[in-house]
């Protein structure tokens, strides 16, 4: 026994020595470490042939060119397109995240039909044929009931072939209700119409200006075409100066030469105060005033009477000496631009404020010239044969728009989406039977989410063309997913607030990943299914043909170079189109029934929602948080500061003084309550904000998409913000809301 044990021990020893002398232990040790270097669950990107394809970005109205880097058929990177007139190689955070939208799991894979209750999230895959048949049948049913006006469209885009196809369809179908979300551009458009008589968009030549006086505009927070503006401001910082007037030290304020804190909502008074000093000291461009304007006297007397620096100082909280200094600086500059429109311009604002800013620019005559403010004509390349509505359609069109745009009250407006929920909820309108939503996500982006949802609940049939499972898609009855911009053709005629008209073409850089159909094709198909006058208005075989025919000679050029720009574009003289042939300080096309000053720029306290509460809640925008149709991509959320979103909580900024009074500390929870809704938030102490003002980040609080895309992260600011109607335009003029704020 003893021997066998010893033998066994000896055998083991021999084995040990032998194994040690063999490659076995050493190779296994080595191979195991190599195994950790190639864990099968860590993805290995496949290599292939590299290529670059240029296209245009459509994620925001900025109109930038992009270069998509591809490896074989996969897109791996989006860069800015070199030498593109708008972004010249640069790219914004949203554009750079584009591929996450392309490859994200929150894309809609195929047409879907709702199975469970609305918003429950239970869907059934259906074929395109079935989907289109169902939508066509529903629409023809409504039309055959003689109620074609009860079909409405919400389109995220105002211009371009898709928007025009949708509008054209509605027209021949018989509904006037083509609605688009309004932004500060609408307010500018209205003001330009009132003061110059033109139907034009506004453009700013920041690149060549030498002074920018901004009244709360978040020009570095996503305003206009961000990349263009970033580049211009960078240059302006070297050769000129920027003054930012707003209650909060935003990024724009931080980057400007001077931040002038102002009582929230009183920017218009400040604009008028600056005008006052300029007029009083006769610093304005006399030649321009005399030759190219009308109504100066009336404007002057109002300005001189009501807006002395002392009076303005009381309203705005800005020292009168500072008002005088700013006015002098503005007047002294050779190419100064004054702008208004808060944040990134999501909310249209009070038209009188916009008019005041136009008037201030007019004092320096800085219109339609280098370094000034331009009126850019609407794109005019869509020249289709006029659609001929039939009798049913004409009857429907006569019923007038549900949102009141173009009515006696708001004569020159074309769309007032912000009034839409109210009109439906108040039930004195004719109501809507079917709603088509394209490129928009109103259930998330519109103020007073609760009211919007209530209105949508009253609409029996909602169709969404969204590419993603967003809030509105989630609440729809049928989903007809559009391929995303990297998979489809579409004209992109906008470059927000850019001084020249540009036309981009977005084109498929990758094969469509999912079973999607371009919204343009869907409209053409549905229209054809109706036959008669409706089909007649859509003679194109498909959307691509339509686009090709519409663009004509430009098609080939655009396919090759993505963008065309009229380099020699010169805007019309500002005065050309008005009746008087001059820039009008006093507008005539205004419903003056409510207010004697309605036609003159002035400061008007429209009041803000909510009587209760000692605090003022203002939204703030930032580049990493998308507030529009698409939610922020995972990459963008990664960039969001922990002082805006912390785990699942929205973080609001308050002045340390306010915090002291309320007994709040950095990171404590607080309850926020407005007349619209309430929210539990975290607070961060920020010296760059006025006491008693609460700044809340917008773009958070999605309830759709997925966990990576911000579902359930923070509070949607629209849950606590309301709508204030501008008396002249009917646009939303709310800039904030009163709030109760207390320790939670």
């Amino acid at each position: 026994m003893k021997l066998s044990r010893r033998c066994f021990l000896s055998f083991s020893l021999g084995t040990t020595v032998g194994i040690t002398l063999s490659p076995l232990p050493w190779k296994i040790t080595d191979d195991l470490s190599i195994w950790t270097q190639n864990w099968p669950w860590t993805p290995v990107p496949r290599d292939g042939a590299y290529s670059l394809e240029n296209s245009a970005c459509t994620l925001c109205p900025g109109g930038c060119g992009i270069s998509v880097r591809k490896v074989d058929h996969r897109a791996v990177k989006i860069d800015g397109m070199k030498d593109h007139p708008v972004n010249d190689g640069g790219i914004c955070i949203l554009g750079a995240s584009g591929l996450q939208y392309l490859y994200g799991p929150f894309r809609l894979p195929s047409p879907l039909k709702r199975v469970g209750e609305r918003g429950e999230g239970r869907w059934k895959n259906i074929s395109w044929k079935q989907a289109l048949t169902e939508v066509s049948e529903k629409l023809s049913e409504i039309r055959s009931n003689g109620e074609p006006e009860k079909v409405a469209v919400i389109s995220g885009k105002k211009e371009g072939t898709i928007a025009c196809l949708l509008e054209r369809f509605l027209t021949v179908y018989g509904s006037p209700n083509f609605m688009t979300p309004s932004t500060v551009e609408d307010s500018y458009e209205a003001a330009l119409h009132l003061m110059q008589g033109s139907r034009a968009s506004v453009g700013f030549d920041f690149e060549n200006a030498d002074f920018v006086l901004s009244f709360g505009s978040g020009i570095l927070e996503g305003w206009g075409s961000p990349v263009k503006i970033f580049q211009a401001i960078g240059k302006l910082k070297k050769d000129g100066s920027v003054i930012q007037v707003e209650p909060r030290l935003s990024n724009t304020a931080a980057k400007s030469d001077r931040w002038v804190p102002i009582n929230p909502g009183t920017e218009a008074a400040m604009i008028m105060g600056v005008a006052h000093v300029i007029i009083r000291e006769k610093l304005y461009d006399e030649n321009f005033i005399n030759t190219s304007t009308s109504g100066f006297q009336k404007y002057q007397s109002l300005v001189m009477e009501d807006y002395s620096p002392e009076k303005v100082s009381v309203i705005t909280g800005i020292a009168s000496s500072q008002i005088v200094a700013i006015a002098r600086e503005f007047a002294k500059a050779s190419k100064p631009i004054a702008i208004c429109g808060r944040g990134e311009g999501r909310i249209a604002g009070n038209v009188h404020e916009t008019m005041a800013v136009l008037a201030l620019n007019a004092l320096k005559g800085n219109f339609n010239r280098e370094g000034g403010l331009w009126s850019v004509p609407k794109p005019d390349y869509i020249k289709w044969a006029e659609a001929k509505p039939d009798q049913t359609a004409l009857e429907g069109l006569e019923k007038g728009r549900i949102d009141g745009a173009g009515s006696k009250e708001y004569p020159f407006m074309t769309s007032l989406l912000d009034r839409f929920p109210k009109m439906i909820n108040e039930e004195n309108s004719y109501g809507i039977q079917a709603l088509l939503v394209s490129n928009a996500n109103p259930l998330y982006t519109m103020p007073d989410t609760e009211a919007v949802k209530k209105a949508f609940e009253k609409i029996p049939y909602i169709v969404s063309f969204s590419s993603f499972m967003d809030e509105t898609a989630q609440f729809s009855d049928i989903l007809l997913p559009n391929p995303i911009y990297l998979e489809r053709y579409e004209d992109v005629p906008t470059a927000a607030m850019y001084k020249k008209p540009v036309l981009n073409l977005t084109k498929p850089v990758v094969k469509p990943l999912h079973n999607t159909i371009n919204t343009g094709d869907i409209i053409i198909k549905i229209a054809k299914s109706f036959g008669g006058s409706i089909a007649d208005a859509f003679k194109w075989r498909d959307y691509e043909t339509c686009l090709k025919e519409t663009l004509g000679a430009q098609w080939e050029i655009l396919k090759k170079q993505v963008v065309t720009e009229d380099k020699n574009f010169v805007a019309n003289s500002p005065a050309l189109e008005t009746n008087a042939g001059k820039f009008q300080f006093v507008a005539d096309d205004v419903n003056k029934s409510q207010n004697s000053k309605a036609g003159i720029p002035h400061f008007e306290d429209l009041g803000i929602n909510g009587a209760a509460g000692n605090f003022v809640l203002i939204p703030y925008d930032s580049m990493p948080l998308s507030t529009g149709y698409v939610a922020s991509a995972p990459f963008m959320l990664k960039v969001v500061s922990d002082k805006a979103l912390y785990h699942q909580d929205t973080v609001v900024q308050i002045n340390p003084e306010t915090a002291l009074i309320l007994g709040l500390k950095e990171g404590s929870y607080a309850n926020l309550e407005t007349s619209v809704g309430s929210a539990r938030v975290k607070v961060t102490l920020y010296d760059g904000i006025m006491p008693n003002v609460i700044a809340m980040p917008s773009g958070l609080g999605h309830t759709a998409y997925d966990d990576y895309m911000g579902n359930g992260k923070g509070v949607n600011i629209n849950q606590v913000l309301g709508v204030v109607e501008d008396p002249v335009t009917g646009l939303n003029a709310a800039w904030g809301i009163r709030a109760k704020f207390s320790k939670a």
Binding site: L13, G14, V17, G18, N38
Partner: protein, 229 residues
């Protein structure tokens, strides 16, 4: 251990201590030594012969390919099919599109060509070639730097695959999933030809010999980033 066993053991130890069984010792030592040698032998066999067989797995190429034959028909040597793209990157194994340039139809009619046509051309599928000398994902290997800038011969790393008439068996390491051509043909790590193994030390040895960018602060050899990504 049972109590009785212990008792016997103690007893035997005591007797051993007295030197009663001294005569047994040498023979015991001999048997013990034999067992040692036995263990040594078995484990060496396992380690050197059985282990490599278990460690490496073999995979079949989709179908056979005759390099020699193809070399006769092209004008530009290896680069006819394995070429540089304009951006400097290397194309590697040809894509289906390239093959069809010549093989738009069945030419030779060999079994392999028929497989190629029936299974891949007909279905527009890329041939999933197994690449013998594919470096792992952590490596950046520039053919341009070696073939163009350093004017190296393909043979240096790929051996005479260009003259082969059929494809060798593709062997890969089950643990590390590396091709045996990278990991080394010889289990002991011995190397006869330059192309026998393509591990890091092989790259660095050649770089050292040719004094390629020996500028690392840490090793005074090539900086890691020259080959790693």
């Amino acid at each position: 251990m049972s109590a009785s066993e212990e008792k016997t053991k103690e007893v035997s130890e005591e007797t051993a201590g007295k030197g009663a069984d001294k005569s047994k010792e040498p023979s015991n030592a001999g048997i013990i030594f034999i067992f040692f040698v036995l263990g040594l032998g078995v484990s060496i066999m396992v380690g050197w012969i059985l282990f490599p067989k278990v460690l490496y797995s073999q995979k079949e190429q989709p179908f056979d390919f005759n390099h020699e034959n193809h070399m006769l028909m092209v004008d530009n040597g290896c680069q006819s099919c394995h070429f540089f793209r304009e951006d400097g990157t290397f194309s590697g194994a040809p894509k289906l599109e390239q093959c069809i340039d010549c093989h738009y139809d069945i030419h030779g009619g060999s079994e392999d060509e028929i497989i190629f046509h029936e299974q891949y051309v007909a279905n527009n599928l890329e041939v999933p070639w197994l690449i013998y000398y594919k470096q792992p994902n952590c490596v950046f290997f520039s053919h341009a730097a070696h073939v163009i800038n350093a004017e190296m011969d393909c043979r240096t790393c790929h051996g005479d695959i260009g003259e082969s008439t059929s494809l060798p068996v593709y062997e890969y390491n089950r643990l590390s999933s590396y091709s045996r051509n990278i990991w080394g043909q010889n289990i002991a790590g011995l190397k006869r030809n330059t192309w026998d193994r393509m591990k890091m030390s092989d790259c660095s040895d050649c770089h050292q010999r040719n004094n390629v960018n020996q500028n690392s602060v840490q090793t005074l050899k090539g900086p890691c980033f020259v080959c790693h990504k």
